[in-house]
Symmetry: C2
Subunit: 137 residues, 2 copies
Amino acid sequence: MSSENTELRKAGLKVTLPRVKIFNILQTTSEDHHLSAEDVYRKLLESGDDVGLATVYRVLTQFEAAGLVLRHNFEGGHAVFEMAGEEHHDHMVCTETSKVIEFYDSVIEERQRAIAEEHGYDLVDHSLILYVKPRKN
Amino acid sequence: MSSENTELRKAGLKVTLPRVKIFNILQTTSEDHHLSAEDVYRKLLESGDDVGLATVYRVLTQFEAAGLVLRHNFEGGHAVFEMAGEEHHDHMVCTETSKVIEFYDSVIEERQRAIAEEHGYDLVDHSLILYVKPRKN
DNA sequence: CTCCCTGCAAATCCTTTGCACATGT
DNA sequence: ACATGTGCAAAGGATTTGCAGGGAG
């Protein structure tokens, strides 16, 4: 029994076919593991699985609520999802190729916390996206 | 002739009533100057101006293209617009009150540039939003 | 007078919901 | 069995677009 079953149960979700399939797609899509609901849906169809788009949205939302998955609003228009790894990271999006690069910077992380505090707040979460283009020398 | 006329002309836009009105609303709404298209639309109606919501969207998009206005995608769902001031800043949004606070931090700005560069890119733009909640001691 | 602009309504896009049926445990 | 989950189609909210009439230069 693959480990996703335990993950799902732990989240209080029945282990159903759509959920397992979607979980696996999110895990195994390595290239760009930032998928939109449509992307996931398309991959399901390609695999010959008959899952409704509505279910994909429902499942992704449940996964997000369970902390298994992160939802990002990159450009606006549509959201993308990625497996919630252990370590936090931010994103850099190439404006020409749409390539997404992940990075982590402790200096920035720390400054964010400090800034929130200076204003009398606690930092709950943050969203940092760098829009970049290939360097030309 | 108020200066917005020149601004509009400079952007290659005819000086029409809806555009001037919207420009003014964006300038004079001081409290929270982050308005959604609906917000602007509502304010127009309140002022007794008969402008269509579609026009509000069109004008805001034109203003954005002209660099007069910035569009932000805070929570997702709807966008908010603000006058493009001279100095850049980022945003902090309170998760409980929805209050928006602007801030600028040179350390973060610099790190962002450096990080993009380390990856062989030039920083074109960025979006940083801190989600915070009031500090409880 | 000629284009650019606007209002209105219909169209799109992404996402959510209602409902009757199907399925895990 | 019983509660949950699912598919389908319809509903929703935000934003865009087509079109015919209106207004700036």
